[in-house]
Amino acid sequence: MRGIGNDANYWAGLEVGEIRLPQCATCETWYWPAPFRCAKCGSWDFTWKTIAPEGLIYSWTRVHHPFGGLESFSQPFVTLSVELPQANGIRLFGMLDDPRAPAIGARVSATIKTTHIFDRDIPALYWTHHE
C-alpha cells in the first residue's frame, strides 16, 4: 500500500480484519500518522496494538460533486473523521456505511471493506451507527 510514514503494520492489520495502531514501546505514547522515531523519548521501537473498531464521529461531509476519481462511488456519499477513544483519541479516516444522517459525536462501529478508486482496490474502514 501507499501509506504515509511507517504505517506498513496498519495495512497488514486491515488485511486480517483488525485496526492496529502504534504506541511507543518505551514511553507508551500513541501516534498517528505512524512515526519511525518517538520524539518524546527517542525510542525507535513501537508496539502495534489492536483496537476495537469503535469510535465517535469527529467530523463528516456528504460529497455531491463528481470529482475526477469518484466514478465508482455511489454519490452522494459521506466521508468521515472518526475519533478512537481507546487509542487516546487518535482520528482515522472512514466512510459512513449506513443511511442515517451523521452527527458529530455519534457512536459508530467499523467493518473493513474495499474501496475501488483509480483502478485499484484499497482497504478502508466503513462505519455504521452503533446500535
Binding site: W32, P33, H64, F73, P76, R91, L92, I117
Partner: protein, 387 residues
Amino acid sequence: MNNALMNQTAVVGVGLRQYKRGTAPMAEQGVLIRAIVDACEDAGIDPSTIDGFATYGDDKNEPVRLMPDLGMTNLRWHTQVFGGGGGGIAGAFGLAAAAIISGQADTVAVFRALVQGDSGRLSAAVMAHHLNDHILGVGNIAPAIECAMRAQRMLEYHGVPRQCFEELVRASYFHGSRNPEAIAYGKELDLDAYREARLISEPFGLFDCSRENDGAGVLILTSADRARGMKKPPIYLTGVAQGTAKGWGDLLQNDDDYCSAGFKPIADRLYEQTGLQPRDIDVVQLYENFSAQGIASLIDHGFCTYENVAEVVRYENLIAPSGRLPVNTSGGNLAQGFIHGIGTAIEAVRQLRGESSNPVPDAHHCLLAGGPGAPTISSAIFSNVTG
C-alpha cells in the same frame, strides 16, 4: 525578536494576466513572460534587470527557461516554498527578501503561473501532493472535501453561524463587481443563486468554492533603497512568516486545532516580528479557497473568535470604503479570479498604492493571508509607510 527583514525590501512592479479557464491565448510559459514584462513596465525597469525568482505551490516554470526571453544576463536566485497548496504564497516573498537582503540577488520576481492545458487542474495537482491510500480509500480526493470536513465541525461543534459564509462571499462579489479585471465584474452576488446553488461537499455549495482561472501574476521585489528612486511608490514588505508549528501538518486528520486554518503560530510570529497587531491592519487580502477557510483564517489572525465571528464577518463590515475590516478588495479568489492566489498579493500592492477598484481610505498596512488549511502556511504584511 530579529526584525532585520522589516521594510528592507519593497514591491516596485506588478503584472497580472488572467483568463477564463481553458482560454489562455498562449502556453503557460508565454503567459508568464507576458506578466513579467507587464510587471517590469509597471516598475519602469528593463526585464533584463531581473536576477532572481521565487514561487510556491509546485509551479512548473523553471526560471532558467525564462532567461532568454527576458534578456537576463545572470540567474542568481531561484527558489520555491515547499507544499502543493497556496500556503506558500506569502512565504515566497520571504525567500525573495532573504536573497536581496543577503546580497544574493537584487531584483527578484515573485510569480505564479497556471494554464490548465500545461499544468492540469490545480485542485488535482494540490491533492496529488497529499494523496495516499488512507485518503484515497475514503474518497477524500479534492481540497473541497477535506476543507468541508473542517467547515462542518466549525459549524456543528464550534457554533459558527452558516450565515458567515454568505457574508464573506457576498463581500467578495461586491468588490469583484466593481473591478473591471474580475470575473464577477458588473454582477454582485445573487443571494438566491447562492442559497440554492448545487452542493459540492456539504456544507459547501458552488459559490463557497473558488474556481480556477488560467493566467500568471508577478510582483517585482527589490531593496527599499533602490525602490525609493523608482517609478511608483514602494510598497514595503514589513514582515513575513511561514511554515507551521507542532500539532499541525500532514497528519491524517490529527491536527490539534482541527477547524482552524493553521495560522495561529504564523500570525503570532508575524505580529511579534512587525510590532503590529490586528487593530493596526487596515485591509486584508485573504486567500479563500473556500468560504469557511477564509473565516478560519480571520479567526487565526486575531480579527475575531468563534464567539464573536458573526459580529465581525458581516457584509457591511467587510466592504470598502465603509467597513472596518475590508477584505479582498479586488474580489479575491472567489470573485476576482483564482490563479492559485497570486491575485491577492497583487491587490495588496494596488490597494496600498491607491490603485484598487475599491480603495480603502488612508490604508497603510495590508495583511496578505496565504492559503488556509494547508500543511504549511504563510502570511505577510505590506505597508506604504515605514513608521
